[in-house]
Symmetry: C2
Subunit: 497 residues, 2 copies
Amino acid sequence: MRDNCSDMNHNLQIYNSLVREKVPFEPLNPPFVGLYVCGPTVYSDAHLGHARPAITFDLLFRYLTHLGYKVRYVRNITDVGHLENDADEGDDKIQKKAKLENLEPMEVVQKYMATFHRNMDQLNTLPPSIEPRASGHIIEQQELIKKIIDQGYGYEVNGSVYFDVNKYNKKYDYGKLSGRVLEELIACTRTLEGQEEKKNSCDFALWKKASPEHLMKWPSPWSEGFPGWHLECSAMSIKYLGEVFDIHGGGMDLKFPHHECEIAQSTAALGKESVRYWMHNNMITINGQKMARSLGNFITLDQLFSGEHELLEQPYNPMTIRFFILQAHYRSTMDFSNEALQAAEKGAQKLMKAVETIDKLKPSSKSSIDIKALKKKCYEAMDDDLNTPVLLSHLFEGVRCINSVADGCETVTEADINELRTLFNDFVFGIMGLQKESSQEIGEELTSRLMEIIIGLRQDAKERKEWAVSDKIRDKLEKVGVTLKDTKEGTVWEVGL
Amino acid sequence: MRDNCSDMNHNLQIYNSLVREKVPFEPLNPPFVGLYVCGPTVYSDAHLGHARPAITFDLLFRYLTHLGYKVRYVRNITDVGHLENDADEGDDKIQKKAKLENLEPMEVVQKYMATFHRNMDQLNTLPPSIEPRASGHIIEQQELIKKIIDQGYGYEVNGSVYFDVNKYNKKYDYGKLSGRVLEELIACTRTLEGQEEKKNSCDFALWKKASPEHLMKWPSPWSEGFPGWHLECSAMSIKYLGEVFDIHGGGMDLKFPHHECEIAQSTAALGKESVRYWMHNNMITINGQKMARSLGNFITLDQLFSGEHELLEQPYNPMTIRFFILQAHYRSTMDFSNEALQAAEKGAQKLMKAVETIDKLKPSSKSSIDIKALKKKCYEAMDDDLNTPVLLSHLFEGVRCINSVADGCETVTEADINELRTLFNDFVFGIMGLQKESSQEIGEELTSRLMEIIIGLRQDAKERKEWAVSDKIRDKLEKVGVTLKDTKEGTVWEVGL
């Protein structure tokens, strides 16, 4: 946290999906901020679609912390109850995968949760403060169901409990977040098989009675069964952040039905809304198409990082992905393509190079550029609903200044060099969460440079016809496992086994 | 899994703590093996004491898998209910830490669970198949309490439920694992404050009513409260491995009361014992003393890896720690000291160097050494209750053979070279889980070697008085960020910022 910025008197505006406009962010109990974000259902490898919400809300977490807030960031793991379709029917996604892979459902959870965490580390997202699992909060979910029933908005049929959307909508407003109108929803909903228990096709399950072959089930006052998918987020956000908390985030695709149902559940149980600000990130398309397994354009993060997918021209560093995502505003759509990622790769490199250049600048007695004005613009961009594309344009203005100073066309004082260093450290690393190349990559880079020097020296010796020297260099390299090959294009080298 | 060894017809003997002797290992439902190991209570950084059980049971997991068994390895995370003393009184360890750090208990859990996982990765222990958390299995624990009460071995007092050890001991044998005798236990136990509810000082809590200020509590038929510490392992092992399963592991310090109580709980609830083989690793002492925070000899794994502890003369690579632990049999005590770790470091390096040498051996038409006999002895060592010190002595016999062949004193055929390679790969990497230096460390090594070559070339140029060449080398290095310093002891180099 920066000293000169820890007063939280920034005019941070965020777009609240509930009121559909940018509003000042005023936490309920400053300096504390409660932030809940919908995490993954861990039944398959993390993919490009997981990267965007993770990075968006990591950016928010980092910026709020930078401003001096004490943020409790809760992101759940859905490990039970997420059925294949939103109509409360079909297999549980995890149980289905468990059958396919011949594993216990919790083995599936363990496997894909580990992959998710590894990928999130690679993308340099900070771990949430608490990462509750749905299966670990069955009692809390049952208690919430009891409250909803007590308030008259839940009904039991054959051991399952449903939420009475029609009744809720008479007092409250079902559809207020997503803009859907209940009457239209009802008119458009086909009655699916297995829906007969519901009073209304729009009702959703709070508790489902399990069939005998269902593996993940628990005793309850209604049946051996499992909670509905929407319930976990209401129960766990209230448990860890209180009945009313500041921000709930997630992907735009979760607005309906997931978040709409969350609002209904919490409001029905508590008589008030839990969430003060709803924030939603937009989606990523791939070459203009929606990402879907059926379209063959489904790219996992491991594939992105390794380049092993037919749509990928090369591997992409996790920091390239991060930079790419931050180049767009989180509420804009963004299209993935090799060109776009290669441009992001170059942009990130240019930014990192400028950060290194700061340390090499020679101070002058006067500054010809205005660092304070630049800094002000950077904060204004972030305060404007986390506008990272504008932030980046200001930082690249800074990059041009840094390069101009390095070239001698502009001047900066010692104090302004320090100011620049802090500015770039704060925004590039602290807030945007970008990272320098790892020490391994730096090492590989250094090895290449040293090899260029050695090959150059050997070339010099050859030109001077000092054959003993050039042979000696070759032999010494052989001893440390490096083989030289003289080709038409020059000398190349490789490290042996 | 190795083809020529996948028949599981090995005569694997393991020491079953319950019968106090080595017995043949015969799983209940081959090829499946159920393995449950007590994991950490996540309220502080992982330390040396966590490394030994983690590596011991990782070794078992790897060897069983190598033999062709399909192992479901469950290791729990204790995130609630572990009180400060074994007499069911005192603060919950996690809640106490939460107060100290001004965090929500689950924030404490998240923080130290992440550290534990990172450290386990560094030690190259494979993740368990399932990693259940106590707080995520409250219903399962409550169901088990109901069964114990139904069978007459649990009683409720003021909202808490206790296990009736005296009654249990009339039908079964309380103390059979630890060798304790109930009458002596009762005679020796002081009646502690807050123990008044118990019929007998040896009784232990299954459910504790929570005080109003207690944070981690759940509704139950008896009170708002939390489960006793011993209960989670009984409930979660039965849930994920079945009522009767093969192996239960843990540190020797857990034999009493933890594992004794587990046996009592499962036996009381099910009328039969759950665990077929109990395995216990011995403890690590530090310079002859028990490790304890109060003695100032408490070393965390992060401190070991970084060298930042007053007792440490240097940082130790995680693979040095792993090798050190495998040098002793898991049931032997072992004493930690800088000398012992430095010896382990050398031993591990020698072993790794020999593995690399295998690839450089020149095949002969005849073998003068008997690889098959060596292989047989390696399996025999592992089959003898995972006797890694004996295994290592055989592998070092192999190391001598490899070096003798490299020196031309012994010969091996092409087929035997392949046999040797498989043997070392299987035992060193697959079963013992040691790792070669990381590519980063290899890169650093290569950089040093290349710098030696460049410095040598510059020295040659100086000796030939080719000052232009030696200056050019210095300049070229400067450009890639490497600075040379000529000192009395010769030229040293460093990488700049």
